[in-house]
Every structure is written in structure tokens, then in C-alpha cells.
């Protein structure tokens, strides 16, 4: 919402308040007890003196018909306006202030109004009283004319090109036009494919005489090799091809590249851009995505086996819900649904309701752009301003994702973590893990018991306390005594208390016979606390008769729990008896233990037999503990590998599955109507809601996305493939097929390709094959002024687009030339990382496997916030965003990293060394340099530049190093002609 700065609102003369703005402010904010007493809250006078001035002064700026922009479509300048309300519904409920939106806004509980400053409490109270008294309002009834937003006309919206059924434009195909293509425009017979017919027709009607010829064979091969595998052609393949650059040889090349593992790696990376793939969360709390790599490998495998794309959509949107025939299928299904989880999230958001909405929003936005080419993010707050997508459609989808568990639990206070789903594994593995768990928990329990026993032995007095101990457990109780261990310091297994009840009816008698006659100090153990009795009577019967002592249990003078009762003489002839009573006490009476400690020569001699037994018992217990601990250690050293799990969603528990309410303006607590779960109305038949959804509705969503009648999904995907091969999409805004996106240059071609794609079973390889076999794919990028004058942007593809290689290809090529490239895959790139990829403080110095590794770039972990400068400066996809089409930038930092980074420098040096070792003549070395780095032979001018640079020092390693380094940093190396 927009809040203009506070303005002085002209005071309407009919108010009869001839005071200036500032005086009104004073009048509003000064408490006016007399007036309040004078005017009842349901009187017009109350409204005029207490309510209207506040509305005029503080609300009309944005909420009157004269406002520049009416906030939230809410008018407060008439009684009707207040009752009708705005986007959020009625502003007031007369008679019920608590239910009135206006009051919660003034209290800053829903929206915060007025935004610049909260009204004083007594003013808010006036509004409460006014509304509770019926909201008397003498102003004219009806709301002023509010410029109502026009409802979206879905039928009109369906006329837009991208919502038309696929095939709608095929009628305009050149095949069906009356005017046949003149033969001179046709390529050689066997290449008269669909693509070339469309493109040549469009060129012809634009007046472009002829398209460019095919590029030189070496150029064509370099293009094909990079486009299909992300790597340059090998020397052998180049030689074979140059010897026979025929159409059949081309077809064989295409097949061999499509079958290579490098193809799968390269094309998986394309979809990873769209899937905003990363191995960590980034954002505020850079949590490690330990399991994301499984999704990456799923994509590589999918490309390799040419998994149908409709199946991939099913798996990515609802894989966790799909039935599976075997474990492998189940694994793939679950891992594919990691797609929904990969977005960057503000995990430490403390308002979890808001966080959930933000996560759902990210998922809807991703699905919208990735599959539908629709920007749905803005529909969270209002109807789409350009496309026929009402807010209800957004919340129809939101219901599906709110019924899906993405976040689950917290990794620390306030910080959310995500859902995990166990993956299938062998029975042996599961059994081993289960057996281990049982054995481990059994040992741990034994250890804990053993530790307890040792503690008991130590504290029971037998081991640690001197003298004679009589525990409460061994005392004779009369009346009610309750056992307790609430306070943690005590002798023996616990202590007893009288529950502060039945005073005078409970006694506890500690009785023993001393081993030697003489004088003893008698001590009494209890846990002191202010809730205790301060006057506990204790009677001691000694050899000299009875003695009465009173104990204050609110304190304990000796150590933590002991108090001395005095010294008494006991004999071996009669028992020592100590009786604790709760007679006449206030507060809890505690009895834990009595201790007798000898104080004269006769009684202090240690009783060797007793302490010996005790220490033996303790030693045995200690020994057992050590043995158990060592057993546990041995067991844990043979811990089986943990059961595999995926970062994947689940459906919520049944009671939590349901439709979503509209969140007005996207606000968490501003709720509108419930919308049944469903899809976009504009590309659905009569009813877009799900009938009897099973679970969250993701299965139905996947089915809707892959329905051949869905006008967007196949078009959007085919267009992405086209862009990767031809340099630009038929729709250049590949993620936006809406009003704000570009229109297709060749709608009929797009439709034909999409139709064929669907009919062929959504296979990607045939689509790629079709495109790279066209004549258009092979056209040279040569600049032709006549064609340029007509079509400077090359929308009609009269030439090949010259384009930048992806960052991955640039790095991989350097590594390959340096002889370092290891094409093997890597798993578990984040193994060993903690919850966070790095500590979340200012001193973090985390490092990650980066460009210096020897693997292909796709296998370098994508750690958000730590994308290597070489990759980011060459426009690798920003993992924070969905990137359908990578930008191509030229910035000084890119030049600097290419020229000055230690890695590029090292690869250049190694490449130079290899070439120098392999060849010894200058011309051969130069030839090898150009062939290896640029897939072409040097031209005359190249030779001149080289000889000038070398200045006769043909054997200087330094010069070769510099020469290769310059080629690596040069434009030809990173551009694809």
C-alpha cells in the first residue's frame, strides 16, 4: 500500500470547527474528561468532538475520495464507506469494537494505522466506545465513488496467444498455405524439414533474399560438440569429420554425442538453472543441503535415458506420492521431488506462519515460471496486473502447497529445517542399521545404569560418607511420608517429606547400634528450602537419656544438606534412636538420613571390614562401566552407513490438509474467502478446481501440468530447448509467456514442435535431434548487411546467433586442455559438513571444493553465498534465482578473473607445457594451439599477431604460457560461432 506523507487536509467548513490543523491535533490528543462525561458515546456530539476530527486529520489523507491514491480501497469519509470497507472487508462492526478491523488497525494489531504514528490510547478508546455504542454517524450514507478494479475477464484472457490450444497456430503453417515456397528457397531435398520450411517462409515474407550458407565444417562441429556435450570436439572426431563432412556423417555425430555421458551432464545443468539448484540454503542461515546432489544425479540420469519430460514433471511435483513398481522407481520418484525443496528460505524467520507462506510462494513462483512461463509471485497480493490470473487462482495453488510439508522441525531455536523422506535400501542394510540401533541403545542403557549404580554406591554413605549412615529408606515411618527426589541432592535413593499435612501425626525413627561405645556427633540430612518448616522437633535417645532438639530446615549449616544435632554418648549395649516428628511444624518436614560420626579415640578407628567391602563393590562397578564403554566404542566403530534419505516433501497429515483462504494483500493475518484447491482458470476448462483431491492435490496438479490440453507447458519447454541450441528462444523471454513477455517470432513453428513433442511421448532427444539436423542450426553467423538491415536482431534466424559458452564449458575446456579434466561424477559433495556450511558469525572462513577441482563444473557443489568468482563472473546461474536464460555480461571483474586468477593462469601454463612437449616446431605448436583451443587452423593474420608477440623467441615457455593465457581470456575462446 502507498502512504503519501502526512498532508494538511482542508477542514470541511460544515464541521463548524474553525480551528487550524495543529489546534485540532491538540484537541485530539489532550484528554478531555469533562467532555467525555458530557457526551454519551452514542451521541452525534461525541462523534463530532471525538471521532470526526481524528478521521479528518489522520485518515482522510489516504482514505477519502479526495486522496491521490486510496489505501486498500477503503474510504472512511462516509458511514457507508466504513460499513462497506475496502480490500480487507468492513472497517467497523457497529456494536462490536473487538470485531472491527478499524480498531485492530488502530491498535497496530493487524495493519498499523495511521502508519507514521500510533494514536494515543485514549483516542483509540474513544473509537472503541463509539463503535460499541453503535457507531453513530451523521455523515451521508453512501460511500463516494470508488474506482473499482475491473474484474478479470477470463474469456477475453483466453484469446491471448499463449492460452490458445497448442496447434492453434499450425493453421498458418507454410505446409498449408496456398502459396508454395519457391524451389530456390528450399534447401537440399533431405533437409526440407519442418523447421526450415517455417523459417524460410518467414524470411521470405520479410524480404530477406537468402539465409546464410552453412558455416565451415570445423565451426559447425565446434558448435554441435559444445551444444550437446558442453565440451570441444576431440582431435580425432574433428579429423574424421573434416575428412567427410557429409550429412550422414553429421547424423552419426549427433547420435554419438546424444549417447555420451557428457551430453547428460551438460543438459542436466540446463534444467538445474531453472530448478535453482544449490547444495546449501544461503540466505540468513546457510544450512547444508546434504542430499541435494541426489536430485542433480537424477537429472543426469534422466537426460541419459531420455526420460519423458511429462514423467519428470510428475516426479518433480509429486514424486513422493507416486506409486512405484520397484525400489529404483521409488528412489527416483522421491529424489525428483527435491525440486520443490531447493529454494532459498529465510529459515530463521521467527513468525513461522509467515515463513510457511513465503515458502509456498517460492514454490508457486517456481512452478509458474519453470513449467507455465507465468509470473505468479505477484498474484499473492493482488490480481495479476497484466495476465488473466486472479488472486483466487494463486490461493487455489497455495492450498495445495500449504497441504504439503516442506519445512519440518527446527535445527535450533527459531531456525526451521526441512522435511526428510527415507529412501529405499536393501533389507540387509535396513537390518544392519536396526540391529546396530538395538545393540547401541542396549549398551547405552547399561552404561547409564552402571553410572547410576556407581553414584549410588558413592553417595549411599558406604563409600563416600564417613561414620554410620541410616537412610530414610531404612527408617521406621509412622503417619504419611511421601518419597521424593525433586531436589537433586540427597543420600540414598531419595528422601521423604510430610507433604506439609497431618501435622503431629507423622514420625520417622532412625535406629542403629553403634559398633563401639563412645561419643558421636549426630547429623541430620534434609534438602533445605524456604518452603520447609523452621521448627522440626527431633528427639535423640542416647546412653544418657532423651534429648530434644529443634531444627530449622530452611537452612543447612553443614555443606549442602546437613545439620548437626549435637554430640551424644552411645554404647554397644542399647540402640541409638533419633525420632523426627512434624508436630507443631509449619512448612514441609523433610527426612533424608541420619549420620553418626565418632568424635573420640574409641569411636574414630575405622571399621576396616565395612569400608573394604564398600570399596570393593565400587571398584567392581567401575570396572564394569569401563568394559561397557569399550564395548560401545567397538560397536560404534562398526556403525553401518546411515539409511539414505532425501530432501523431499510429504503430504501433511490428513487433518492439516485443506483449502486455503485468500490472504488479503498477501498478509499473514488478513484472511479472505476460502478457495478450493485447483489451478489457473485461464488455461483450464469450465472448472479449474480439484474434485475430491487425494491428499494435498499435487498429484492432480502434476496431471494438470502434463495434460496435452495444457496450452503452456509443452510450448514453454520446447522453447527452452530451442534457446539452448539456437541462441534465442522463439519466445525470447523464456520464463514469461504472459503479456509482459515477448511474442513468439514463429508461433506456428513453436506449435508444430510442441505438438510433435507431446505426440512423441515428451522425449527430449528427438527434439534436439530434429533441431540440430535442420539447416538453420548449421547456418554461419556471418554478418550480411542486407539481411541485417531488415532483421538486425536476427529474429528470423537468417544467420546463426553468435553466443557465449556457459561458464561451465569455459572452465571445463580449460581443464581439458590442461590435461586435468576428470569426467567422472562425484557424489555427496557436502559430506562432513555440519548443519551450517559455515559458522554463522563474522569470523567464518569456510572454504569449499571450487574451480580448482578437476571434475566437470556440474559436480562442483553450489554453495549459496560462495559461488566461485570465475563462475559468477562468467554468468553461471545465480542459485538464488530461477534462471531460464542466463544473462551475458561484460564487466571488468570478468576480464580480471580471466586474466589474473591463479587457476586460469595455471591451466594456461599446463596447456602451454603440453603443447610444447608434443610439438617442437613453432608452426606446429601454433597449429595445435588454435586447433585445441579454438577448433580451427590459424589464419594469416593470426600468424602475424603470433610472430609479433613471440619476436623470435619461439622456444620461450614464458611466451607460450602468455600466449595461451591471452587466448583463454580472449573473446573467441568463450564465444560459439
Amino acid at each position: 500500500m502507498h502512504f503519501p506523507p502526512r498532508r494538511v487536509i482542508p477542514v470541511p467548513t460544515n464541521l463548524g470547527l474553525a480551528i487550524a490543523g495543529s489546534a485540532i491535533a491538540l484537541a485530539i490528543f489532550a484528554p478531555l474528561p469533562n467532555l467525555a462525561a458530557a457526551d454519551p458515546a452514542d451521541s452525534v456530539a461525541f462523534f463530532e468532538s471525538r471521532i470526526r476530527p481524528v478521521l479528518v486529520q489522520r485518515c482522510y489523507g489516504c482514505h477519502s475520495v479526495d486522496a491521490d491514491e486510496i489505501g486498500g480501497s477503503l474510504l472512511l469519509d462516509s458511514s457507508g464507506g466504513m460499513l462497506t470497507g475496502g480490500d480487507s472487508g468492513a472497517a467497523i462492526e457497529p456494536g462490536d469494537a473487538e470485531a472491527s478491523m478499524l480498531v485492530s488497525a488502530l491498535r497496530y494489531e493487524s495493519s498499523e494505522m495511521p502508519p507514521d504514528e500510533q494514536l494515543p490510547d485514549h483516542v483509540v478508546d474513544d473509537f472503541v466506545r463509539w463503535i460499541n455504542a453503535g457507531a453513530t454517524d451523521p455523515r451521508k450514507g453512501d460511500a463516494g465513488p470508488l474506482p473499482k478494479r475491473e474484474a478479470i475477464d477470463l474469456e477475453a484472457g483466453r484469446q491471448f496467444w499463449s492460452f490458445q490450444p497448442i496447434g492453434a497456430f499450425s493453421d498458418f503453417s507454410p505446409r498449408s498455405t496456398q502459396d508454395p515456397i519457391p524451389t530456390e528457397h528450399l534447401p537440399t531435398e533431405h533437409r526440407q524439414g519442418l523447421i526450415d520450411m517455417h523459417l524460410l517462409a518467414s524470411m521470405r515474407s520479410a524480404g530477406i533474399e537468402s539465409a546464410n550458407e552453412s558455416a565451415a565444417p570445423a565451426t559447425r562441429l565446434r558448435r554441435l560438440a559444445f551444444d550437446l556435450t558442453g565440451l570441444p570436439p576431440s582431435e580425432e572426431v574433428m579429423q574424421t569429420w573434416l575428412a567427410d563432412p557429409s550429412d550422414s556423417a553429421w547424423a552419426r555425430l549427433v547420435e554419438s554425442y546424444l549417447a555420451s555421458p557428457e551430453y547428460a551432464q551438460h543438459w542436466a545443468r540446463h534444467w538445474m538453472d531453472v530448478a535453482r539448484y544449490a547444495d546449501s540454503n544461503g540466505s540468513d542461515f546457510n544450512a547444508t543441503f546434504h542430499e541435494a546432489w541426489r536430485y542433480r544425479d537424477y537429472l543426469i540420469e534422466s537426460m541419459a535415458m531420455d526420460r519423458p519430460f511429462d514423467q519428470m514433471i510428475h516426479q518433480q511435483v509429486a514424486g513422493d506420492l507416486l506409486p512405484a513398481e520397484n525400489d529404483k522407481q521409488r528412489y527416483d520418484n522421491i529424489v525428483a521431488s527435491t525440486f520443490l525443496m531447493l529454494g532459498t528460505k529465510m529459515l530463521s524467520e521467527r513468525d513461522k506462519a509467515k515463513l510457511t507462506l513465503d515458502v509456498v510462494d517460492e514454490q508457486i513462483d517456481t512452478i509458474g515460471r519453470a513449467f507455465l512461463g507465468m509470473t505468479l509471485g505477484c498474484v499473492r497480493c493482488h490480481d495479476h496486473k497484466f495476465d488473466p490470473i486472479p488472486t483466487e487462482d494463486y490461493y487455489a495453488l497455495a492450498g495445495i502447497f500449504k497441504s504439503t510439508v516442506t519445512l519440518k522441525g527446527e535445527s535450533q531455536q527459531y531456525v526451521s529445517t526441512w522435511n526428510r523422506v527415507p529412501l529405499p535400501t536393501s533389507k540387509e542394510h535396513r537390518d544392519a542399521v536396526e540391529q546396530f540401533k538395538v545393540a547401541e541403545s542396549k549398551l547405552k542403557k547399561q552404561i547409564s545404569e552402571s553410572e547410576k549404580q556407581i553414584k549410588r554406591l558413592k553417595s549411599s554413605g558406604a563409600a563416600s560418607l564417613e561414620g554410620i549412615i541410616i537412610d530414610d529408606a531404612d527408617a521406621i515411618k509412622s503417619g504419611t511420608w511421601k518419597s521424593s527426589t525433586f531436589f537433586k541432592e540427597f543420600v540414598g535413593p531419595g528422601y521423604v517429606h510430610d507433604d506439609n499435612m497431618n501435622k503431629g501425626k507423622a514420625t520417622i525413627t532412625f535406629q542403629t547400634r553403634v559398633p563401639k561405645s563412645g561419643e558421636y556427633e549426630v547429623r541430620f540430612a534434609y534438602s533445605p528450602n524456604p518452603s520447609r518448616a523452621s521448627n522440626v522437633p527431633v528427639t535423640i535417645t542416647s546412653a544418657d537419656g532423651q534429648h530434644n532438639v529443634t531444627v530449622d530446615q530452611r537452612r543447612a549449616p553443614i555443606q549442602a544438606i546437613w545439620a548437626s544435632l549435637g554430640k551424644f554418648r552411645f554404647t554397644t549395649e542399647s540402640d541409638a534412636v533419633i525420632v523426627v516428628s512434624n508436630k507443631d511444624t509449619t512448612g514441609y518436614v523433610i527426612a533424608d538420613a541420619i549420620q553418626l560420626i565418632g568424635t573420640d579415640d574409641a569411636t574414630t578407628k575405622p571399621d576396616s571390614s565395612k569400608s573394604e567391602t564398600a570399596s570393593k563393590a565400587l571398584a567392581a562397578a567401575n570396572e564394569q562401566l569401563e568394559r561397557l564403554k569399550s564395548e560401545l566404542k567397538t560397536l560404534q566403530s562398526k556403525r553401518p552407513t546411515p539409511l539414505p534419505e532425501a530432501m523431499a516433501p510429504s503430504d501433511a497429515a490428513t487433518p492439516k490438509i485443506g483449502d486455503s483462504r485468500v490472504h488479503i494483500r498477501g498478509e499473514v493475518n488478513n484472511l479472505g474467502d476460502v478457495v478450493p484447491r485447483g489451478f489457473l482458470q485461464v488455461c483450464s476448462g469450465s472448472d479449474s478446481s480439484i474434485k475430491d483431491p487425494v491428499g494435498s492435490g499435487r498429484l492432480e496438479l502434476a496431471a494438470w501440468l502434463t495434460d496435452p490440453d495444457n496450452p503452456l507447458v509443452a510450448r514453454v519447454f520446447v522453447n527452452r530447448v530451442w534457446m539452448h541450441l539456437m541462441g534465442e528462444g522463439i519466445v525470447r523471454t523464456v520464463d514469461n509467456f504472459g503479456q509482459r513477455g515477448e511474442r513468439p517470432s514463429h508461433p506456428a513453428l513453436l506449435d508444430d514442435l510442441a505438438t510433435e513433442f507431446i505426440r512423441g511421448g515428451w522425449h527430449i532427444k528427438p527434439l534436439i535431434r530434429k533441431i540440430v539436423m535442420s539447416q538453420a542450426y548449421s547456418r554461419s553467423s556471418e554478418f550480411v548487411p542486407q539481411s541485417y538491415a531488415i532483421d538486425p536482431e536476427n529474429r528470423l534466424l537468417w544467420r546463426g546467433h553468435r553466443r557465449r559458452l556457459p561458464a561451465e564449458s569455459i572452465r571445463d575446456t580449460m581443464l581439458a586442455l590442461a590435461g586435468e579434466l576428470d569426467k567422472r561424477g562425484r557424489t555427496q559433495p557436502m559430506k562432513g559438513r555440519g548443519t551450517l556450511v559455515s559458522s554463522n558469525n563474522a569470523d567464518s572462513k569456510a572454504t569449499f571444493a571450487g574451480v580448482a577441482e578437476t571434475c566437470r563444473s556440474i559436480f562442483i557443489p553450489v554453495v549459496r553465498s560462495y559461488v566461485p568468482p570465475l563462475m559468477s563472473s562468467l554468468d553461471a546461474a545465480d542459485p538464488d534465482l530461477l534462471v531460464g536464460r542466463r544473462p551475458t555480461t561484460n564487466v571488468p571483474s570478468q576480464a580480471l578473473v580471466l586474466i589474473n586468477s591463479p587457476d586460469v593462469n595455471r591451466w594456461a601454463e599446463k596447456t602451454a607445457q603440453r603443447i610444447m612437449q608434443q610439438y617442437h616446431e613453432f608452426d606446429d605448436r601454433l597449429m595445435a594451439t588454435y586447433q585445441n583451443c579454438l577448433s580451427r587452423a590459424p589464419r594469416q593474420q593470426d600468424r602475424e599477431i603470433a610472430s609479433e608477440f613471440f619476436g623470435g623467441q619461439a622456444d620461450s615457455a614464458e611466451h607460450w604460457h602468455e600466449f595461451i593465457a591471452a587466448i583463454f581470456a580472449g573473446t573467441e575462446f568463450r564465444l560459439l560461432d
Binding site: P5, E117, D351, F386, E782, A789, N890, S893, I899, N900
Partner: protein, 459 residues
Amino acid sequence: MTKHVLSRRDFGVYSSFAMGSLAVSAFAPTGRLAAAPAVTTPHHRPRAKRVIFLFMHGGPSHVDTFDYKPLLARDDGKDLPFALPANISAKPKLMNGPWKFKRRGESGLWVSDLLPGMASIADSLCVIRSMHTKGQSHGQAVGMINTGSDNLVRPSVGAWVSYALGSDHPDLPAHVAIGPATAHGGPRNYGSAFLPAMHQATVVGSNGKPGDGKIAHLDGPVSGPRIERRFDLVQKLNSHHLEVAGPDREIEGAIEAVDLASRMRLAAPEIFDLQRESEQTRREYGIGESKTDSFGRSCLLARRLAEAGVRFITVSSGQVWDQHGNLKAGHEKNAATTDLPVTTLIRDLKRRGLWDDTLVVWGGEFGRTPVVQGSNGRDHNPQGFSVVLSGGGVKSGFAFGETDDYGYFARRDRVHMHDLHATILHQLGIDHERLTYRYAGRDFRLTDVHGNVVQDVLA
């Protein structure tokens, strides 16, 4: 007033080819040059040419620095008389801070003893005491202050300024971040998101420290005449490629980028060399003293970059101001490292006549609670806090807005983070509602659909 970083210029030795009219039109088929400023004519009279943002990461306590609340002393240890916001770990028990507040300078601005340096220049400061923002945790609030969004990926303030105005130096980037944090969003807080990549900050150092004080990869593994030869050969190869290829934006752009990189290599070392300052100046910034050396270097570098024409410079303290416990020791340590350099920076800008058109912004992502956390700390407080402005056409010795009696909630003349951003752009001559960039079918703004210029703080 603006020289374009990547504007077309004479390529000198590298432009051996002739650029016909055709080539010129090929240069920019989509219209504007990528690097040309978006705002060629200011929307209104600018009051500042550049911004230095001193980011006090972690959240300094406003009630212990610039927002004097006498009731905190009176009610120390008592319960907060109103409800706490949701989701915080502090107790509802008020805690008076250990520092005395005094009226300072002729203006009588309240500043506590914690920041004696800033107190001594109170008459040059403009304190907004009614800031509020989104985000109870660092991540969100750091995103808000740096990018205007607490949850979504958006361009940073500096990227927007770079996009709007470009650099005022032919060989330097428009946007530099000194010592940015790797946590709480890391590069996102100085990134370009969907704006062209060149608007991302050029980074010097990390996590509150200027590091070696240099731009990365400006020097490489080889140096001297060798690196000169390498640059030279790259340009020769590129020029030749352009000749063969015909007019091509990508190749032309690359040639310019190498040219700029080369010139940056020559220009930057002098600008980044703090040794060129007098011994006395360096001492004034606290360079050479263990506590102030790091932040002093950062601030002096910021001044040199500002002087040279960099538009937006962020100097980060590192996430040090986050005293959930030990408020006294922690804040005193942070004050000891930052207060002197900040004070000297403002004085130095004045001395050099740069202060009038340099907007200095001092603040954290949020403030701290007036209630206690643990026994002697304060929790995060996005509901109300202070930000300090200086120079750049804002009032001096002036305080705007109020929090409640205890400093918890911004109450009077509330200023949202979006309003602060609108105000920063306004001082640079930019209307925040007119600075837009189309992405994913929508025109984006730094202030989203919010933001009002805080007219009351403008001089």
C-alpha cells in the same frame, strides 16, 4: 556530472577497425547501453552525490546511544508495563543501561557516554529515533536494511544507486563494499540480484575487516611487463576477432571491459593506497592503534573512494553489535573500535568539503530491547531503533521521531526502513517511485510499493 563507466570511448590502440553507422546501430539493439545510468537527468535537485553507509551489523542498542529514556533508570528492574512482541527471548523486565546520557553541542542532542566521539560532533548528526523494520532475526532485518526485502531476493541499495547513477570516476566501479559479512545473506546484501551484474558491489575484505585493502584479481600470479603484455595481447586477439566477426556487441563489450579492467589496474592502486595520506590523518583515523586499526583503515578507504567518485560505499563493522549478554563489555569494545574512525570520517569529509554532498548513514539492522535478556543483555528490537544521518543535505544537530517511554516501539513520526531508503535515494536526486527495473514481467523498485521520503529531516 556523470561519466559512464562503460560508455563508449576511443579504444585507442585497440580500435583499429572502423565503426560504420551500421556498427553503431548494432551496438545497442535493445536501446540503452547496459552501463549507461538509468537516471540521466535527476528527478529533482540532488543534495548528495554519494553515500557512505556505516553498517553496524548485529544491532547497536539505541537506548544506550542516541535514544535517551529517563524512565529506564527510574523503573530499572520493574516489569515492562505493556506486552512484549511475539517471538523474543527477553524477559519483560526493564534494564537501565550503564552509560550516562548528556546533552551535547549547541544543539543539545542527547548522546550517551558510550560514543564520546560521535557525541563530540553531535551538531553534525541527524538522529532518526523512530526507525522500525521487518524481521525479528538478523537474516530478515539485514536483508531489509541492505535490500529492502526481508525474505525475497532483491538488489541491494548500492546496486540500485549504481544502476541509477553509474560511477563518477571513469575507471572505478560505482558500488564498493568494504568488509561485508559472509553470513546473514552474504553477497545478497551487496548483490545485484536481477539488475545487471555490474551493479554488484566490488568487494574489499570481509567480515568487518578490509583484508589486504584491494580489489580481487587486480594483481595476478604474473606481474610487471609480463602482465602488461598479456593485457595487450588479449586486446589484439579480441580486436582481430571483432574484425573477422563483424559488428558484435558481445565482442565490443568484452573489449571495453578489458580496457576498463586495465585502466582500473592503473588507477586503483593509488586510490586504495592509504600510505598516500599523511601520518597525522592516519593517526586520526586510529590506524596503527590495535583497537581502531581495522575499522580506521576501512573508513579512510571509504573516504578516498568517495573522493574519487564511487557512489555507494558500505563499510561493515562485522556482526559484533549483537549483545544478547554482556551488554556493557561488548558495546564498549565495539564503541572502542568504531567510534573514533566514524568521528574522524565525518570530520575529514567536512575538512575536505565533501560532507555537504556525501550522505553518511550510521546504523544497524535493528536496535535492542529495553528489557533484559539473560542477566545483562538485550534482545533484537526491530520495533523501534535509531539510525544516524550526517551531511548530504540533512539537518544537523537534529533528532526526529520518538519511541515510547521505554524505547521499545517507534511511536511518533515513525520511519520504516522503506522510508529511509526512499530518503537516501531522494538525496541523490532520485524519486524512489520512478527508479524501476523490469524483471519477470514486473517493474521492481527498491521500496517495493512502500516508502515515503522523510521530509522533516531534510535541510
